[in-house]
């Protein structure tokens, strides 16, 4: 018979390397038509990071995402970057790009201030224009300013910058220190059906609430959460590399190493919890890895809630769950008084 259960798990996860420097550098070039090109040494590995980085540059320059092209991942042409690791791209590379865009914007402002007859400190970049703060009627297009900067004044609007998260080394005896600049938090709650005759677990739904500071692109955050949960589902119930007595891997193929497919995926709801980190670009932190962290824990707690057995080793395969159910029944039977 199928037994239903629910399980909750929360987590914390750091952004960036543990203490060690993990800098990013970036260059932002404003073209003379007001569009921009970003150079970054990070790599798009499928998570949509280049889109997010383009949005950060666009926001800083007051232009649209579509106005920015991001060039990445060529050691001959792009500035150094520690790379797509440690959930650091939005936070660390994002900060570098934001600072580089600010440097390029400063050149535009220097050009625009005499055009608008005000001081640099009175300017802001918004809606593809450079305008006077609190008096947006007085404005000039970024295209016009960028063109003038480059073609008339001979001062192209190009900015470069680097950023490294601040940390404090850990004491070797006690581990006390500030290993990371910032952390994100999340909770996932799973609902499962466990068949108490076969041990089979079906995950019905997962409610995921994740913190990433400002969500630069909520759609891509949701994508990360759904992808992370699919990894968590595999870790919870299916995936395991097995070795024989001689140390040879016995299931090095997708026939015998079982991974979740779309048919194994539960219904997922994603909530992005409102947050703002003043140390991140426009308040953003990161979201890549944490999405895969609490899923297995939530599923295993739901199995416990459903059939009262605590599986302490992953994955909770049907065989393992059934063996635990049988062991529990055996002890329960012994307790029946004669």
């Amino acid at each position: 018979m199928k037994q239903r259960g629910r399980g909750i798990a929360c987590m914390w996860y750091p952004i960036g390397f543990t203490v060690d420097a993990n800098p990013s550098a970036a260059t932002v070039k404003v073209n003379e038509d007001g569009t921009a090109t970003v150079l970054t040494g990070t790599v798009e590995t499928g998570q949509g990071s280049l889109t997010v980085l383009g949005q950060i540059a666009a926001e800083a320059l007051g232009i649209a995402t579509d106005d920015v092209h991001v060039v990445s991942a060529d050691t001959d042409t792009t500035p150094m970057d520690t790379g797509a690791i440690a959930s650091r791209t939005t936070y660390v590379t994002g900060n570098a790009i934001w600072l580089a865009a600010e440097a390029a914007k400063a050149i535009l402002f220097e050009t625009a201030a005499p055009m608008l007859g005000v001081k640099v400190s009175q300017l802001e970049a918004k809606d593809r224009k450079i305008q006077v703060k609190n008096y947006p009627q007085r404005n000039v297009s970024i295209a016009q300013v960028a063109h003038r900067s480059q073609v008339v004044l001979g001062q192209p609007a190009i900015g470069s910058a680097s950023w490294n998260p601040p940390t404090v080394a850990m004491d070797p005896e006690t581990g006390q220190g500030k290993p990371f600049a910032t952390y994100v938090y999340a909770t996932q709650i799973a609902e499962v059906d466990v068949d108490d005759e076969t041990g089979e677990v079906e995950i019905l739904r997962i409610a995921a609430a994740h913190d990433c500071g400002t969500a630069i692109n909520p759609m891509l955050v949701e994508g990360q959460v759904e992808g992370g949960i699919s990894m968590g589902v595999g870790m919870a119930l299916q995936e395991e590399m097995l070795f024989d007595a001689n140390g040879r891997h016995i299931n090095p193929n997708l026939t015998n190493y079982i991974m979740p497919t779309s048919l194994d995926m539960p219904e997922i709801t994603v909530d992005i919890v409102q947050g703002y980190d003043p140390t991140g670009p426009f308040g953003a932190k990161g979201v890549g890895e944490p999405t895969a962290v609490p899923t297995a824990a939530a599923v295993l707690n739901a199995i416990h809630d459903a059939v009262g057995v605590r599986v302490t080793s992953l994955p909770a395969t049907a065989e393992k769950v059934l063996a635990a159910i049988k062991a529990k029944r055996a002890t329960e039977q012994k307790q029946i008084p004669a």
Binding site: C10, Q176, E191, D271, T312
Partner: protein, 463 residues
């Protein structure tokens, strides 16, 4: 022209109104009308402000149309195909490698062994990993020789012609057994324990003494592969000027270039790494694998050389997620407040360090959970075994310890008769809480995520 701006006539922008995105794109390969592949939110990419917009990805259209060019879609004139012979034995000394039959095959252009690699070690923390093993095999997925041939089929056949004679050595497979002093050493003569971490805060013994109840449990996790859709793949092109270009599916080109410079003894200015579109990383593509071998095969033959791992190699010859044995001991009050927590983690590090010391550190720091605990002692060890190396994988040990601390939390809640949500809200970090390493935490929203998820799920306390 804005009346307030002072722009002279000759300074005016001489740029025509640009064509729209739809006019600039190539036509789709599929009929547009029956398959609506246009973006769900067509305007998001045109919005200012840009931050917070559900902007679509520019690469999404190419992926959707099957037009993205991965490594295996790239080809250069005269390009050769490389394959690597794997040891297939977990621990052994190599007595002899005979490549002569393979080299004599028509279509085989070059064979490479470990002895030909200028610096045959690499690794992000400890340089303990050979590109191709030359004397000792550390795990069954180790490469012993590489072949470049005009077709992949010939390269595969050549692997069978390479004769390797092994003297088997005792293999260490269990991480706990590997910690014993009398255990055979994976990287002799050093201890198998290659990194440790300690977090000590407050006084756990005092905390346990003050606790009403003490709970103990052991949890363990399995070895997991990243299983990226695209396997590890690279093309090496060593040109006549002695400049090397590597096209690779790799997430960290800066580190990759320094690893290439080290293994090949080349100045960095002579190496160009281009990361193409990476078809899945998840931590598995954070370092070089076959790239130095491909480079040297290209140097030997004067032709570009492509190497693409099989799915089997993805499992046995690349990094995986650490199995961890996790012992938890927690002292709580009857009301559910955690007073002390002691943790011991043993990570199975596999044959090479790779990102193990990072995983060890993160797992140790995160192992007490997002909870206010004044007395913490967490100790973590990572040990060598003669198995596939473990390394970076999404979460760096966090999914493993989260499974342990959250399972443990539910067991405590159940024993004390407290709702699982309530016990978490009771103990969770607040803004300004001190972490296990004494760090004052900012922008802490763990309770908000608990409440939000509970709301969405419809979590009701059970009496």
């Amino acid at each position: 022209m804005n009346e307030h701006s002072r722009i002279l006539e000759h300074e005016k922008l001489n740029i025509a109104e640009p064509l729209s995105d739809a006019d600039l794109r190539l036509p789709a390969m599929v009929p547009r009308e029956p398959f609506p592949i246009e973006t769900l939110t067509p305007d998001a990419r045109q919005q200012t402000r840009a931050v917070g917009q559900r902007a679509t990805r520019p690469d999404g259209r190419l992926h959707g149309l099957g037009q993205t060019k991965y490594i295996d879609d790239l080809s250069f004139p005269g390009m050769l195909y490389a394959r690597i012979k794997r040891a297939g034995i977990a621990s052994a000394r190599i007595k002899r490698i005979d490549t002569s039959a393979a080299e004599a095959m028509p279509g085989v252009m070059a064979v490479l062994t470990g002895k030909e690699i200028p610096t045959n070690t690499f690794g992000p923390t400890f340089q303990d990993q050979p590109v191709l093993v030359d004397e000792v095999v550390f795990h069954a997925g180790d490469g012993v020789a590489a072949v470049a041939a005009v077709t992949e089929q010939i390269a595969n056949e050549a692997l069978d012609k390479i004769v390797v004679e092994y003297e088997p050595l005792p293999a260490v497979l269990d991480p706990v057994a590997a910690m014993r002093e009398d255990s055979p050493k994976v990287h002799a003569p050093d201890s198998n324990i290659y990194a440790t971490k300690v977090i000590r805060k407050g006084d756990v013994e005092k905390g346990f003494a003050e606790s009403d109840r003490i709970f103990e449990a052991r949890f363990s996790t399995q070895m997991i592969e990243h299983v990226s859709l695209e396997p590890h793949a690279a093309i090496a092109d060593w040109d006549a000027n002695g400049r090397l270009t590597i096209y690779a599916t790799i997430g960290r080109i800066t580190l990759a270039r320094s690893d290439m410079a080290r293994t090949l003894k080349m100045p960095m200015s002579r190496i160009r790494i281009v990361a193409t579109i990476v078809g899945g990383n998840f931590g598995g593509k954070n370092e070089i694998t076959q790239e130095p071998a491909l480079a040297l095969l290209s140097k030997k033959t004067g032709r570009p050389v492509k190497g693409v791992f099989t799915r089997g190699e993805e499992f046995t010859s690349t990094t995986t997620r650490h199995p961890i044995i996790m012992d938890y001991k927690t002292g709580v009050t009857n009301k559910g407040r955690i007073l002390a927590r002691q943790i011991r983690l043993v990570l199975d590090g596999g044959a090479y360090c790779s990102w193990s010391s990072t995983t060890l550190g993160k797992a140790c720091i995160l192992s007490p959970g997002p909870y206010k605990i004044d007395n913490v002692l967490a100790e973590a060890f990572v040990v060598y075994t003669n198995k596939t190396m473990t390394g970076a994988m999404r979460g760096f040990g966090a999914p493993q310890v989260c499974f342990a601390y959250e399972s443990h939390m539910d067991d405590i809640a159940k024993a004390l008769g407290i709702d699982p949500l309530e016990i978490r809200l009771l103990n969770a970090f607040d803004e300004g809480s001190s972490s296990p390493t004494g760090q004052v935490l900012h922008s802490v929203v763990v309770k908000e995520t608990l409440r939000k998820a509970a709301d969405r799920f419809g979590w009701e306390p059970r009496s």
